[in-house]
Amino acid sequence: MSQLVNAILVFLVLTGFLLLASSRLVACIRAVAIQGILLGILAIAAQDGNLSVFGVLLPLISAAVKGFILPWLIMRAMRDADTVREVEPLIGYNLSVIIGAIALGVSLWLGQHLPLPNRPTSFLLVPAAFFTCLVGFVLLITRRKAITQVLGYLTLENGVYAFGAAVALEMPVLVELGILLDVFVGVFVMGIAIFHISRQFDHIDTGRLVALSDRVP
């Protein structure tokens, strides 16, 4: 089991770098979708054999939502917005990848200094989860398109979910479903908002949403 878990975690880190390096919006959406599916497998694999019905069913539902339904929603929002299908970041792709490498180092360091009380299946679990969260933040900060910001939010959420799976946390079914529903509705509402932004402004560049601000007098 632990080899499978390790392999998934390595792939998770790789999708993180893909997100940082890719200039194509479609590739980024696919990377987030792959993350969603990987996490579903991870949540099952990390349970170490003690499987219950919900223990399998919930990760499968989650993988279906994050791997297929949400990416489809985002793809549709992208088509509706009829935007240039490039990421157009504030900083270059090389710099993004370098930041990613630093983030990976920080995550590994954090993973060593925050020891889990229960020995996890793989020492990579906690660093990979933190790294995914940090990638989400980098995307949120350095990418201006509304769609890439949604991708950043989803990546952050994936990182949080990975941490939950990493500590093999048994959330009650109701809460797990509630969390998934919130993420789903959240992305759905954001998709609607992107549609309105593109109609209202003819662009989805959030860097140009600056009508509302305060200056220090």
Binding site: V175, I179, V189
Partner: protein
Amino acid sequence: MILLLILIPALAGAAAFLIGRDSIRRGLLVSAALVQFALSVATWILPPAPALSGWLAEDAIGRLFLTLTSLLFLASSFYAVAYLRGERAESHSDFEEGLLFSNAREASFTGCLLLFLSAMTLVTLSQHLGLLWVAVEATTLASAPLIYFHRHHRSLEATWKYLLICSVGIALALLGIFFLAVAATSPGTAAVSLVLKDLLSDAPHLNPLWLKAAFVLMLVGYGTKMGLAPFHSWLPDAHSEAPSVASALLSGALLNCAFLGILRIHQICVASGLADFSERLLLVLGLLSMAVAAIFITGQVDYKRMLAYSSVEHMGILAVGVGLGGAGLFGSMLHVINHSLTKVMLFMVAGNLLAVYHTKTAKNVSGALQVLPVSGLLWVLGFLAITGSPPFGPFLSEFTILKAALDQGRSFVAIAYLILLAIILAGMATPVLAMAQGTPREDIVVPAGRGVALSAVPAILGAAILLMGVYVPPVLSRTIHEAARLLGPR
């Protein structure tokens, strides 16, 4: 009974989306609000049995927040009906820039209002921290469409910032909940319960390192939603662009719900002996929020943004009260009530002024006392109340918090607190008084047939604020004491 409190507004909200006739839908809004309020008052007499194996239960803190939310929603529902009657459905020109825009469908506005109430009720009654998280995120999603009721680019920008910033913040809070679960895991145990009662009784055995990390993440996460500086950037935009009735609910009810999330993790920290750590962080963020609010209120040209920053200030005061502990806890709980009542009233009055003067710029408004005598008077009285002047309610609670700081010998906190309050008083006085006095522009006409509720609801709230300043009913005072006891060390 607990389930009914949540389900009634949820079902009414779902139904509101489907009802075509305006009159029936508005009736549904008010009656659902009435029934829900009656139920939440009934919980004071008949404490409800816990539901869902103890995940939903009402403690003193929950009862306080729930009743306040229901009361404010009831007041807002009357106001909303009068407000919606005055709105035109076809596209009309924007006050600020003259561009044409139309409103969102009234059915979805009403529906989202009711779903919003249901989500907030769930927040106040959740004893399971995971469920609490789900509910807080649900409040974000239900309230985002409320901000985008007037469909123009400014409200859209505000909605986008609100959705994204709050969702990201809340995602961090979820990470904090996972950290808390790790803190509760000890080698060998399998299942971790995230029910507040179990966590509190298990608190001495929690891993302090992970608990501290969990507290920081949840403070940042829920603090974003609560509008604590420096995570408050969405708040002034959303509050100024939303229709006034939505701003009132965001400020008066939603911010409290996020505060409740922080209170829950604080309770756990106190019980596990980390009170010093969590109190210090709350104090720092509280004073910082007050300072940021003082900077941006001074010289603020937009009066709705001014009220929004005043909310940042008062969230800071709440955090300072809890950060001081002791008598500060009582002051903080009392201030939750006083601030919400006053701020809801002020946003309603601001909505009335906006409807008549067609501008949010304070210096273009003058003679409000002549044009709208009731609203103008309430605007001035509300200003006095919110800045902590006697004899209104907020004075009492702000003074209690100040006294707690002095009694503990924390003179730095007390002095900073007083100076910031004074700056805010001075910063708000100039625009507010200039708006009320003077002679109105000639072209200002009060639209005929304004709903009575537009003035009556804020007037009743104003009376309540005055009452809270001179007489806190014993039954309320007992519950506040009980809530403060829950927050304090055992």
